[in-house]
Amino acid sequence: MSRDLLFEIGVEELPAGYVPPALEQLERGARAMLAELRLESGEIEKLATPRRLAITARGVAERQADASEEAMGPASRVAWDAEGKPTKALLGFCAGKGAELSAVRRVATPKGEYVAVTVHHTGKPAREVLGAPLAALAQRLTFPKTMRWLDDETRFARPVRWMVALLGDDVIPVSAFALEAGRVSQGHRFLAPGPVEIPNASRYAEALASRHVIAGQRERGARMRSQVEALARAAGGRVVADPELFEINNFLVEWPTAFAGAFDTGFLDLPREVIVTALREHQRFFAVENAAGRLLPAFIAVRNGEAHGIDTVRKGAEDVLIARLDDARFYWNSDLKLPPAHRVDALAGVVWMEGLGSLREKARRLESLCDWIAARLEPGAAAHARRAALLCKTDLLSEMIGSGKEYASLEGVMGGHYARRAGEPEPVAAAISEHHRPRGPADAPPATAAGVILALADKLDHVAGAFVGGKVPSGSEDPYGVRRAANGAVRILIEQERHLDLRDATMESTRAFFAADPNLSQAEIVKKLGEFWRGRVEAALDERGVPYDARDAALEARIVTDGAARARPGWIDPCDCLERARTLAGFRADARFEPLVVLFKRVANILAKATESLPASLDRARVIEPAERMLLAALDSARARTEPLWERRAYAEILPALLAMESAIHGFFDHVMVNVDDLPTRVSRLKLLAEVRELFLRGWDLSKVVVEGEKSA
């Protein structure tokens, strides 16, 4: 026997952005709860509107599954006394587990002999056991900001006003938020205000639909989307793609009715981004464009209600929008009066980050950093990047960005427009426009060379400045957006396939700060920065689905190249690191993978135990034994074969080439004793192995890789 489960948390209007993450938590939590309770169930569905977060589970078992559990008790030596009588420890254990003394068994463990009993749990009716876990599920939801509304410590994103908890047609006793769950939900705030009885968990959506609430976001979203798209077609175009705006609107309404509005064609002289932002930011309206991608003087909005009175609603929407566009036009026209180059001096009056100087100083640092990056990535773009660096922060002084707070998201983009209008070369304008990209996971990195250089410089400077100024992110706290900036830089390098040494870049980006303040603890700041960037590269590999052991193997590589004084850690070139990690992960299915790893570990293990200090180079004259000479020959040949491959980053070919040393390495271990008494011989042999390891380490630290045979160990 099984029945459907429904749990609805009724709440006052939630911020739209809070809903999707809360639903994820609710679904995950419900799944874990049912597993924990040993309640079998079918499909779990999450549903939400601005006023409710709900979860349904199909076919939840009427009773918990029976279960047996092995419970370990005290050690045998303390379970019975000298006379063989059970001690208090044993009796207490039995009482705690509800087991008879006769049921006690002795079990041998690596730590000695212990007593154990098998405890049988008889499943209880689902309705009796669900109450407290459902309450806990609701109370444990987390939100970016929470509030109190009762005179105790209860918190939630907005006040909770009702709860529905049903198993089939029975109410599950849930008490939380000073409320008892029942079967009474609420209809649409205006179209069908008041209580709605939910007869059965399986009829939740149906009962609400009769009261003008579409509970499921998918169904509601589909209805909204088809209305919006039809209206856009009727207006002669299509909706400007914006999935996030669809989601926001979806969680602002319980019963969507879309309507179209218009504005004066004259506003179309404004930059497209300004119009789209004016529509989107406060009003949540969709912009409409024609087949050629040009904006039309129209918008689509979504109302939480029916078509009744829609003309009044439309008139209000148009009036508010026109007032906003009027403001935007005022800002735009006054901003065009002063070209960006004329605002550079005024940057001196704007503080960038507390204690870290003005934007004028930042512009100067960016210029020099652009030169440095351009020299490494694309020398031809240096002049444009440098010019863009000088001008890129001037839009912060414009009316549009400075006064019209709603246009703050157009920082950079507006700068690009102003530069273009002032006659700056197109690559300069484009670089300014792109320098904040990527703004988030959904935004693309810059497309132009100068844009890439400036965006990297801006982010490197931001991160370096934050660490210098002690504004380091910790835990989930990152008020200065330092992590976002670093993630953006790593993404640019990876997606644009640019190879930049982040360690050198860190040194370069801190140089000006250190020069300005000689009292800074430079070594500590650089060390922290290194750890931070490594963490960002690690996160980038995780995001791209690289298995953790391949990730660590690539991150922990130690790249020694001729002439370099010290090894370069594997993470400092994110793009290269990702490629090495992916190649290694891809090689895993190959039959040669495991022998390769085993081989490396065998070498690494011996070296790990060695305490001898090894010379800078191998004394070839000391390599005498045939098996030693074989290994040296194999190493020389592997080096020769892989050298051009490393240059070309042909990692997939390198792995088999390393494996060519296999028989020589095994032969070495079979016939040569490493730990001999004679120190010079011992050191020479260790050094030979160290050079073998070094060749592997140039790409991967294979000791991080977990192979089949080890997993269970």
């Binding site: 900001k145 109190r148 005179d151 105790d152 205006f190 209600g305 009036d319 508010v320």
Partner: protein, 327 residues
């Protein structure tokens, strides 16, 4: 008494709101006789939202924002506007419904409009006050601010109040279908423009051009010193009045362009410090009086210490107060 017609004049609309909230147990207070930037500054909100005493109040608050003046020429912006302020403490469970019913009471049919609650984290840095709630939008225009107070004077509130603030001028314009505030009918046959236009022109000149900057800075310092002196003597009402004056002086100086960006934070911090002192002094005083507005016996038992124990609960308003223990 003649039937009220909120769509005909602003004063009818105000009277309808007064009737509506009076019927729901609110004390109908009157505007505070000192310049405030919003109804929240009125002690009937700022001070009374502190501590465990229940309180329901409604009043019109003429609010001054010197910076928003436009010499009477802008149809939507003016330096003196009218708020209708409601404070419900504790916030009733159906407070959102009560709010929307109040809109019905002034002739707004939710089915004829798009009414929505848009998230808003409200904060008043000068009062050290913060809360969560919404802006209420009607057909895209903000008509109200709806806030559950969480903090006041830097103190976590003992009982959460709901503060409902109506932008009377705006709502009136929408109800009367007027595009310019100047044309808004205040009373039948008398417009806003006839009452206030000259006022706006003069105040805008004063606020932006003529206010005596040195004198205002001097007054700020004097009222600040006076506030500290009076609050030290536990004179809450006169002390808090000085705080209100400081806040308004700051707004005037700001409008006059006399306060630089870097100085701003400092001045706001000084006013906040005074507001905090007032809040602490008020709580201490109410506790000493035995929280006289608590009429319910169970609540009295919870919040008021027995008379023989002379000391009042030290932190009845603070977060460590016994609000964790449910009555």
């Amino acid at each position: 008494m003649p039937e009220l017609s909120p769509k005909r004049s602003l004063q009818d609309m105000i009277l309808a709101l007064q009737q509506y909230w009076a019927a729901r147990g609110c004390v109908i207070q009157q505007p505070y006789p000192s310049e405030v930037g919003a109804g929240t500054f009125n002690p009937a909100t700022f001070l009374r939202s502190l501590g465990p005493e229940p309180w329901r109040v409604a009043f019109v608050e003429p609010s001054r924002r010197p910076k928003d003046g436009r010499y009477g020429e802008n149809p939507h912006r003016f330096q003196q506007f009218y708020q209708y302020q409601v404070l419900l403490k504790p916030a009733p469970a159906d407070v959102v419904e009560q709010y929307f019913d109040s809109l019905r009471a002034i002739g707004i049919d939710p089915l004829e409009h798009d009414l929505r609650l848009v998230e808003d984290d409200w904060e008043s840095p000068t009062l050290g006050a913060a809360g969560l709630g919404w802006q209420v939008l009607m057909d895209g225009t903000e008509i109200s601010q709806f806030t559950y107070f969480q903090q006041c004077g830097g103190i976590e509130v003992a009982i959460v109040s709901a503060e409902l603030t109506y932008g009377l001028d705006r709502i009136g314009m929408m109800l009367q279908g007027k595009d310019r505030v100047q044309d808004l009918a205040w009373a039948p046959g008398v417009t806003w423009g006839e009452l206030w236009l000259q006022n706006e022109r003069e105040w805008s000149r004063y606020n932006f051009e003529l206010a005596d900057v040195d004198g205002l800075f001097d007054m700020f310092k004097r009222w600040e010193a006076e506030a500290l002196r009076l609050l030290e003597l536990d004179l809450v009402a006169p002390g808090y009045d000085c705080v209100i004056k400081c806040s308004h002086l700051f707004n005037l100086l700001d409008a006059r362009g006399a306060i630089s960006v870097s100085e701003r934070v400092g001045y706001i911090g000084r006013v906040r410090k005074l507001a905090r002192r007032s809040a602490t002094a008020y709580l201490k005083q109410r506790a000493a009086l035995g929280f006289p507005l608590i009429k319910d016996e169970a609540q009295r038992a919870r919040w008021v210490k027995p008379a023989e124990d002379n000391a009042a609960p030290a932190n009845a308003g603070a977060s460590s107060a016994p609000r964790g223990a449910k009555a």
